[in-house]
Amino acid sequence: MSRPRLKVREEMYRRIHAHGVETYPHECCGALLGRDGEGSREVIDLVPLANRRDDSPRNRFEVTPDDVRLAEKTASEKKLELIGWYHSHPDAPARPSEYDRDHAWPWYSYLIVSVEKGEPRDTTSWRLHDDRAAYDAEELEVAAREMGIQ
């Protein structure tokens, strides 16, 4: 089976990086809005959100159910779907942690940007397996304009 693909418009990619830089050394988070197709999906818009983990924002993020509902409503108003979430790993690799996996939902795309000393570095995206045991890395494709999905 080929890897699932996540297409991201360049403007959104830059906005995610800028959000990670803005909140550094804390984790940023937000919703990915777009369209889902067979094995391929596209990020068309974002809903940047506040990290609700006031107690440990450098290594944790949390999106409350109210914020999830807000993101769903925003997606619906824009005739898009809520297809996933992004967050930053300040001074840590852009790979999902055990904590990420324990708390992940299936189906959603989880985009992670590593922010090293305040600069955005690697960016990766992941989907949880059905059995919750591991992730599939998504093939990330960044392009200047809307690409469409197959």
Partner: protein
């Protein structure tokens, strides 16, 4: 009593791709049990190995969070809607920051 359980997008693949499932139940606990009996693949995403609702799974009865009601003992009546709403969490593994 027939109640409707709304399934969030990430779990619809495990519930026959349905947005909602109707079950017979008198409490929220019974409704979730009936739901996971009907669609057993949902169980591991809703409950941890010890049978507790996962911390990032939120359950509402007609927009009221069951944590502020009687949790899984919250009574439901015909026509009520139970919603499963995700919260999202994650972060870096670090013992000390």
């Amino acid at each position: 009593m027939a109640v409707k359980v709304m399934i969030p997008t990430p779990l619809r693949a495990y519930a026959g791709k349905q947005e909602s499932v109707e079950v017979q139940a008198a409490t929220v606990g019974e409704a979730l049990s009936a739901l996971t009996t009907k669609h057993s693949d949902l169980r591991k995403h809703l409950f941890s190995d010890d049978g507790r609702l996962r911390s990032f799974v939120n359950v509402y009865v007609n927009d009221e969070d069951i944590r502020y009601l009687q949790k899984d003992q919250t009574a439901v009546k015909a026509g009520d809607t139970i919603s499963i709403v995700p919260s999202i969490a994650g972060g870096v593994n670090r013992a000390r920051i």
